[in-house]
Protein backbone atom coordinates (compact mmCIF):
# COMPACT_ATOMS: atom_id res chain seq x y z
CA UNK A 1 0.00 0.00 0.00
CA UNK A 2 1.36 3.42 -0.89
CA UNK A 3 2.16 6.06 1.66
CA UNK A 4 -0.81 8.20 2.68
CA UNK A 5 -0.98 11.44 0.74
CA UNK A 6 -1.47 14.77 2.48
CA UNK A 7 -2.28 17.94 0.57
CA UNK A 8 -1.21 21.08 2.43
CA UNK A 9 -2.92 24.30 1.39
CA UNK A 10 -1.04 27.23 2.84
CA UNK A 11 -0.15 30.57 1.30
CA UNK A 12 2.91 31.29 3.35
CA UNK A 13 5.94 29.48 1.95
CA UNK A 14 7.83 29.92 5.21
CA UNK A 15 5.04 28.12 7.04
CA UNK A 16 4.20 25.53 4.39
CA UNK A 17 7.71 24.30 3.59
CA UNK A 18 8.83 23.24 7.09
CA UNK A 19 5.51 21.52 7.77
CA UNK A 20 5.64 19.70 4.43
CA UNK A 21 9.21 18.58 5.05
CA UNK A 22 8.37 17.38 8.54
CA UNK A 23 5.48 15.28 7.26
CA UNK A 24 7.62 13.87 4.43
CA UNK A 25 10.23 12.83 6.95
CA UNK A 26 7.45 11.08 8.84
CA UNK A 27 6.78 8.96 5.78
CA UNK A 28 3.89 10.72 4.11
CA UNK A 29 3.61 11.77 0.52
CA UNK A 30 2.99 15.52 0.68
CA UNK A 31 1.63 17.81 -1.98
CA UNK A 32 1.87 21.56 -1.59
CA UNK A 33 -0.60 24.17 -2.77
CA UNK A 34 -0.46 27.87 -2.04
CA UNK A 35 -4.16 28.44 -2.66
CA UNK A 36 -7.46 26.64 -2.62
CA UNK A 37 -7.54 27.04 -6.39
CA UNK A 38 -4.27 25.15 -6.76
CA UNK A 39 -5.57 22.55 -4.33
CA UNK A 40 -8.59 22.05 -6.57
CA UNK A 41 -6.19 21.44 -9.47
CA UNK A 42 -4.64 18.55 -7.55
CA UNK A 43 -7.99 17.18 -6.45
CA UNK A 44 -9.59 17.40 -9.87
CA UNK A 45 -6.52 15.99 -11.57
CA UNK A 46 -7.26 12.71 -9.85
CA UNK A 47 -3.96 11.09 -10.78
CA UNK A 48 -3.34 10.21 -7.16
CA UNK A 49 -5.53 9.53 -4.17
CA UNK A 50 -5.35 12.32 -1.63
CA UNK A 51 -6.16 11.07 1.85
CA UNK A 52 -6.18 14.29 3.82
CA UNK A 53 -6.41 17.95 2.87
CA UNK A 54 -4.93 20.27 5.46
CA UNK A 55 -6.11 23.72 4.49
CA UNK A 56 -5.69 27.14 5.92
CA UNK A 57 -9.07 28.80 6.38
CA UNK A 58 -7.83 31.94 4.68
CA UNK A 59 -6.45 30.42 1.53
CA UNK A 60 -7.45 33.11 -0.92
CA UNK A 61 -10.41 32.66 -3.23
CA UNK A 62 -12.02 30.22 -2.93
CA UNK A 63 -11.60 30.10 0.82
CA UNK A 64 -10.60 27.08 2.83
CA UNK A 65 -14.27 26.72 3.81
CA UNK A 66 -15.34 26.61 0.19
CA UNK A 67 -12.63 24.08 -0.56
CA UNK A 68 -13.76 21.95 2.37
CA UNK A 69 -17.35 22.03 1.16
CA UNK A 70 -16.26 21.01 -2.32
CA UNK A 71 -14.22 18.11 -0.98
CA UNK A 72 -17.07 16.90 1.20
CA UNK A 73 -19.37 16.90 -1.81
CA UNK A 74 -17.09 15.47 -4.47
CA UNK A 75 -14.50 13.40 -2.60
CA UNK A 76 -16.20 11.93 0.46
CA UNK A 77 -13.27 9.61 1.14
CA UNK A 78 -10.88 12.52 1.46
CA UNK A 79 -10.74 14.05 4.90
CA UNK A 80 -10.40 17.74 5.52
CA UNK A 81 -8.65 19.51 8.34
CA UNK A 82 -9.01 23.26 8.46
CA UNK A 83 -6.45 25.38 10.23
CA UNK A 84 -6.61 28.96 11.32
CA UNK A 85 -6.09 31.40 14.09
CA UNK A 86 -8.49 31.63 16.97
CA UNK A 87 -10.12 34.60 15.28
CA UNK A 88 -11.37 32.42 12.44
CA UNK A 89 -14.78 30.85 12.45
CA UNK A 90 -14.31 27.59 14.29
CA UNK A 91 -18.03 26.86 14.47
CA UNK A 92 -18.40 26.92 10.74
CA UNK A 93 -15.32 24.76 10.37
CA UNK A 94 -16.84 22.26 12.75
CA UNK A 95 -19.84 21.86 10.48
CA UNK A 96 -17.67 21.01 7.54
CA UNK A 97 -14.78 19.02 8.88
CA UNK A 98 -14.72 15.40 9.76
CA UNK A 99 -13.41 15.94 13.23
CA UNK A 100 -15.12 19.14 14.20
CA UNK A 101 -12.69 21.65 15.68
CA UNK A 102 -9.81 22.76 13.62
CA UNK A 103 -6.09 22.98 14.15
CA UNK A 104 -4.89 26.31 15.39
CA UNK A 105 -2.08 28.32 13.91
CA UNK A 106 0.81 28.72 14.21
CA UNK A 107 1.19 25.03 13.50
CA UNK A 108 2.62 22.73 16.09
CA UNK A 109 4.09 20.11 13.79
CA UNK A 110 3.75 17.35 16.35
CA UNK A 111 0.06 18.13 16.87
CA UNK A 112 -0.53 18.15 13.13
CA UNK A 113 1.12 14.74 12.88
CA UNK A 114 -0.98 13.38 15.75
CA UNK A 115 -4.13 14.72 14.13
CA UNK A 116 -3.27 13.12 10.80
CA UNK A 117 -2.49 9.78 12.42
CA UNK A 118 -5.77 9.91 14.32
CA UNK A 119 -7.78 10.64 11.19
CA UNK A 120 -6.09 7.92 9.15
CA UNK A 121 -6.47 5.37 11.91
CA UNK A 122 -10.16 6.20 12.30
CA UNK A 123 -10.69 5.89 8.59
CA UNK A 124 -8.93 2.53 8.47
CA UNK A 125 -11.04 1.28 11.37
CA UNK A 126 -14.20 2.36 9.60
CA UNK A 127 -13.07 0.63 6.44
CA UNK A 128 -12.31 -2.53 8.38
CA UNK A 129 -8.67 -2.62 7.33
Amino acid sequence: MSDPCILIVEQDLLVRTPLAEYLRECGYLVLEASSAGDARAFLEDGSRRIDIVLAEVKSGEPSGFALASWVRTHLPNTQIVLAGTIATAAEKAGDICQEGPTLSKPYDHRLVLDHIRHLLAARDRNNGS
Binding site: L14, T17, P18, E25, C26, G27, A41, F42, R117
Partner: protein, 134 residues
Protein backbone atom coordinates in the same frame (compact mmCIF):
# COMPACT_ATOMS: atom_id res chain seq x y z
CA UNK B 1 4.42 0.95 12.04
CA UNK B 2 4.23 4.58 13.05
CA UNK B 3 6.31 6.78 10.79
CA UNK B 4 8.91 8.87 12.56
CA UNK B 5 11.13 11.65 11.29
CA UNK B 6 14.41 10.37 9.92
CA UNK B 7 17.79 11.90 10.53
CA UNK B 8 19.65 12.28 7.28
CA UNK B 9 22.84 13.98 6.15
CA UNK B 10 22.30 17.30 4.46
CA UNK B 11 21.35 17.03 0.84
CA UNK B 12 21.32 19.79 -1.73
CA UNK B 13 18.28 22.05 -1.62
CA UNK B 14 16.67 23.22 -4.81
CA UNK B 15 14.16 26.05 -4.93
CA UNK B 16 11.64 25.46 -7.70
CA UNK B 17 9.64 28.53 -8.77
CA UNK B 18 6.71 27.59 -10.97
CA UNK B 19 3.15 28.87 -10.80
CA UNK B 20 1.53 25.95 -12.62
CA UNK B 21 0.95 23.72 -9.64
CA UNK B 22 0.84 20.34 -11.38
CA UNK B 23 4.02 21.10 -13.32
CA UNK B 24 5.73 22.24 -10.14
CA UNK B 25 4.62 19.20 -8.17
CA UNK B 26 5.85 16.88 -10.90
CA UNK B 27 9.37 18.29 -11.13
CA UNK B 28 9.53 18.60 -7.34
CA UNK B 29 8.58 14.98 -6.86
CA UNK B 30 11.13 13.82 -9.43
CA UNK B 31 13.81 15.88 -7.72
CA UNK B 32 12.93 14.36 -4.36
CA UNK B 33 13.09 10.90 -5.85
CA UNK B 34 16.54 11.83 -7.14
CA UNK B 35 17.57 12.62 -3.57
CA UNK B 36 17.27 16.39 -3.46
CA UNK B 37 15.37 18.51 -1.00
CA UNK B 38 12.95 20.83 -2.70
CA UNK B 39 11.30 24.11 -1.78
CA UNK B 40 8.24 24.83 -3.89
CA UNK B 41 7.27 28.42 -4.65
CA UNK B 42 4.63 29.64 -7.06
CA UNK B 43 5.99 33.18 -7.17
CA UNK B 44 9.50 34.51 -7.57
CA UNK B 45 8.73 36.93 -4.73
CA UNK B 46 8.09 34.03 -2.39
CA UNK B 47 11.27 32.32 -3.48
CA UNK B 48 13.28 35.43 -2.74
CA UNK B 49 11.56 35.78 0.63
CA UNK B 50 12.59 32.23 1.48
CA UNK B 51 16.20 32.87 0.51
CA UNK B 52 16.30 36.16 2.41
CA UNK B 53 14.81 34.52 5.48
CA UNK B 54 17.76 32.12 5.37
CA UNK B 55 15.64 29.39 6.88
CA UNK B 56 17.95 26.90 5.25
CA UNK B 57 20.58 27.28 2.60
CA UNK B 58 19.36 27.08 -0.99
CA UNK B 59 21.90 25.48 -3.31
CA UNK B 60 20.24 26.05 -6.68
CA UNK B 61 17.20 27.88 -8.06
CA UNK B 62 15.15 26.50 -10.93
CA UNK B 63 12.63 29.14 -11.98
CA UNK B 64 10.09 29.74 -14.66
CA UNK B 65 10.56 33.17 -16.23
CA UNK B 66 6.88 34.04 -16.33
CA UNK B 67 5.72 34.06 -12.73
CA UNK B 68 2.96 36.06 -11.04
CA UNK B 69 3.74 38.72 -8.46
CA UNK B 70 6.06 41.70 -8.45
CA UNK B 71 9.10 39.77 -9.74
CA UNK B 72 9.49 37.48 -12.68
CA UNK B 73 12.06 34.73 -12.89
CA UNK B 74 14.58 36.85 -14.74
CA UNK B 75 14.36 39.63 -12.16
CA UNK B 76 14.80 37.05 -9.45
CA UNK B 77 17.91 35.80 -11.23
CA UNK B 78 19.28 39.34 -11.44
CA UNK B 79 18.76 39.89 -7.73
CA UNK B 80 20.38 36.58 -6.89
CA UNK B 81 23.35 37.35 -9.12
CA UNK B 82 23.91 40.59 -7.21
CA UNK B 83 23.05 39.53 -3.67
CA UNK B 84 23.58 35.78 -3.63
CA UNK B 85 26.15 35.04 -6.32
CA UNK B 86 26.86 31.59 -4.89
CA UNK B 87 23.39 30.34 -5.80
CA UNK B 88 23.29 29.09 -9.39
CA UNK B 89 20.10 29.76 -11.33
CA UNK B 90 18.49 27.80 -14.14
CA UNK B 91 15.62 29.51 -15.94
CA UNK B 92 12.89 27.87 -17.95
CA UNK B 93 10.15 29.17 -20.22
CA UNK B 94 7.81 28.13 -22.95
CA UNK B 95 8.86 31.24 -24.85
CA UNK B 96 12.15 32.04 -26.48
CA UNK B 97 14.85 33.01 -23.99
CA UNK B 98 15.28 36.76 -23.48
CA UNK B 99 18.50 38.25 -24.78
CA UNK B 100 20.11 38.74 -21.38
CA UNK B 101 19.34 35.23 -20.16
CA UNK B 102 23.10 34.71 -20.24
CA UNK B 103 23.30 35.96 -16.66
CA UNK B 104 22.17 32.55 -15.46
CA UNK B 105 23.89 29.17 -15.49
CA UNK B 106 21.47 27.65 -17.96
CA UNK B 107 18.20 28.11 -19.78
CA UNK B 108 15.91 25.11 -20.31
CA UNK B 109 13.12 25.50 -22.85
CA UNK B 110 9.68 24.10 -22.02
CA UNK B 111 8.56 21.43 -22.31
CA UNK B 112 11.69 20.05 -20.72
CA UNK B 113 12.89 16.52 -20.26
CA UNK B 114 12.86 15.98 -16.51
CA UNK B 115 15.70 13.45 -16.48
CA UNK B 116 17.97 15.69 -18.51
CA UNK B 117 17.03 18.72 -16.44
CA UNK B 118 17.85 16.94 -13.20
CA UNK B 119 21.14 15.78 -14.71
CA UNK B 120 21.89 19.40 -15.58
CA UNK B 121 21.14 20.50 -12.02
CA UNK B 122 23.38 17.75 -10.65
CA UNK B 123 26.20 18.78 -12.95
CA UNK B 124 25.94 22.43 -11.94
CA UNK B 125 25.87 21.53 -8.25
CA UNK B 126 28.84 19.20 -8.66
CA UNK B 127 30.75 21.96 -10.39
CA UNK B 128 29.84 24.38 -7.63
CA UNK B 129 30.92 22.09 -4.80
CA UNK B 130 33.20 19.38 -6.14
CA UNK B 131 33.56 16.43 -3.83
CA UNK B 132 30.48 17.19 -1.75
CA UNK B 133 27.63 14.70 -1.76
CA UNK B 134 24.50 15.94 -3.52
Amino acid sequence: MIPQPLLRPRTARILVVEDEVLTRAFIAEELRLAGFRVIEADRADDGLTYIKAAVEQVDLVFSDIQTPGSLDGLQLAEILRDKYPDIPVILTSGNAPPRHVGIVEAFVPKPYDVTQTIALMSAILAQKSPGEPL
